[in-house]
Amino acid sequence: MEKPSYNFEVSNNGLIFSFESVSREKIIKKVVVYEPLVDELYHMGFGDLVEDNTIDYSVKSANKDMNKVLSTVVQTMFLFFEKYPDKKVVFTGSNEIRTRLYRSIISKFVEEIELYFLVEGFKNDGTQEVFRKNEDYYAFLIYPRI
């Protein structure tokens, strides 16, 4: 998974990350946030930092660097699990198109991902199963192999 990614900053507690998405047209401040939900579960969300320190997970950046941005998010996840190896991360897209994109990316790299992590998918009705390629899911759960 050695893909081009952006350098980033991380908070002391390892839960907030920021970096800049750069193109010829614009520079966008990105934020990745890991928030505790219940027990060992954390929600991972990422989006743009808009004015007044407000985070928008839904905005469409269109900065022509999606792969680099997603690779950076993966790097933050590596660092998160380095600090919190016993936690699990839940994530989904802010809309169906993004969720399908995440599913597609996981499907593409699942053999490699599963060397390090276990990945599960959640259907809309909450049914939980080991991630299967090209299956429709509402959300994903990822955590280090024990």
Partner: protein, 53 residues
């Protein structure tokens, strides 16, 4: 069963710790807040904690 491998270490030259991020009071757009609430409800409804014996 796949063999477990150590999670790749992030190159320390590619990031730096910024303590200011810990103190920053981030807010969320209303749409993002609704999204966060939705995933939180989903998780609390469907993902059960492991049973302790």
């Amino acid at each position: 069963m796949k063999t477990k491998r150590e999670i790749p270490k992030v190159n320390p030259n590619t990031y730096k710790v910024n303590p200011a991020l810990d103190d920053k009071k981030f807010e969320f757009t209303p749409e993002t807040q609704a999204f966060r609430s939705k995933i939180e409800r989903f998780v609390k409804t469907h993902i059960k904690p492991p049973v302790s014996i």
